[in-house]
Symmetry: C2
Amino acid sequence: MRIILDAMGSDNHPDPEVQAAVEASRLLGDEIILVGQEPLLRSKLDALDTSGASVRIVHAPEVLEMTDKPATAARRKAQNSMAVGMDLLKAGEGDAFVTAGNTGGAMATALFRLGRIRGVKRPALAAPFPTRKGMCVVVDVGANAECRPEFLVQFAVLGSVYAEHLLGVKEPRVGLLSNGEEPGKGNDLVKATYPLLEKSGLNFIGNVEGKELFGGEADVVVTDGFTGNVLLKSSEAVTKLLIDLLREGLLSSPVTKIGALLAKPAFARVKEVLDPSRIGAVPLLGIDGLVLVGHGRSDAATMVSALRAAHEAAEQGLLDKLRSAIEERL
Amino acid sequence: MRIILDAMGSDNHPDPEVQAAVEASRLLGDEIILVGQEPLLRSKLDALDTSGASVRIVHAPEVLEMTDKPATAARRKAQNSMAVGMDLLKAGEGDAFVTAGNTGGAMATALFRLGRIRGVKRPALAAPFPTRKGMCVVVDVGANAECRPEFLVQFAVLGSVYAEHLLGVKEPRVGLLSNGEEPGKGNDLVKATYPLLEKSGLNFIGNVEGKELFGGEADVVVTDGFTGNVLLKSSEAVTKLLIDLLREGLLSSPVTKIGALLAKPAFARVKEVLDPSRIGAVPLLGIDGLVLVGHGRSDAATMVSALRAAHEAAEQGLLDKLRSAIEERL
């Protein structure tokens, strides 16, 4: 299998990418195609032991920065590493493309270079949320601030295929994010979406709130990209606040420091549940190509997980399964 | 001062209410009017030492349950303790009304019995969120699932008056909840609200995300009631998940248990920041009467805080200040 990796995506690029390319190639037996500034990548690669690894470099002179506006940058920097990588994917030079770069930029570039799966109204961003009992995929977390009910039904279809084939959940339970569990609760969008999900043939469990989401009672939760983005960012911010307060408290005296040392396994358990490297990267759902986006803060270990996720997505034939699921419902 | 207290509101009513009435009366020097089933309240009150306290009982035969639908229950149970209490408030028998009952029921009853402040388009629910640097009031967290831009501007006006006079913040910083900080980010509602807030004369700081909210960079954050409700409930659910995971980890071995014991002051600090009893109760913003709603899980100490919040709201002339702020902008 051949996986194309944007070498200029993560906050600390290209070191995590180059290191992960070598490790993942050995681990997965795949060829990894690193896309980015060749001289830089060559020198980084030469400094590593690459025995048993199959890594090659494709040159891309430009880099999309986090501060670049997705739409304009995709035009202005036509030879950026994301664009070049996706062109390789489209040309059949690889089975999947992975980037830890700007998500908005990846979506804009993918729409332009690869287009949508036939029948998909709006591609969406999925995000895995940690829960009491595993993962829950929330779709959309930011691609579409304004949605129509039929978009949300497609998010549910795409999210279910993802949960089934990449998270290994049979008949994923689909929840509709709302401001109350009872049917009839919600804003106009939710109220109009509810009956469509009921007759969708999906395993629809009704409206869900934060309690059900984080309690692990749904595998896929659908919402518009505005609400989903607020949900994602506020959950991250609450988690950060709690962990910061706890850390400050634990460092405040010699006695609490000893307590923290003894209690370390407990903190490790929390960290394990929250660890984003478990998933690595998530596919852009609805794009006509396997494009997976990881977190900007990814280190080499997380990038290896991202490459493994891409390997599995390709091996499972995820793209064909997404295409069929949409096709069936046209 | 006279404060009317719904004695049948909290999950464990009427014990927390009766006990808090006696304590708060002594503490604040106020008369507390307990509204609920008289024989029950009488027997509970007789069992306490009421020296130095001024507490009287007004009979209300019916009780609104958490499972009652707000709109229908308000009609079907016309003599419920919330309705009777608000009628007393309207008749001038008290300076404020406090309940720990169903928030939706309180809003529906208040709209029906007391009405809106002149010029207010939609009353809203406010919720104080703990942040890195104190409290942030989010408006609306559930009263209005669908909003127009001019509603959000009024939420900002009402929330600013509340933050200034009850939280003691001079020129409260107002943020607009969005899916990105930059102006121009947002759904249609946010994009249309932004320019109105810019010229509102309020201390508008622009779009905010979870990071700014929980980082304490705004004193008031406005949003529609659907998004605000999702934000509120998911923040509570994330917090619960983290605390549950940590507790389980800490109880998992003798060593971590000792660690937990030594680290106790650190946990106390987190608990203090998250403690809802610090605020006790929050006024229904835009209702033409001082109605404060506390948490259903309130114990006696939290109910005392709720009565203190009502005392302060009345003492500060909050209702008149809310009326003037709206009047000025008509």
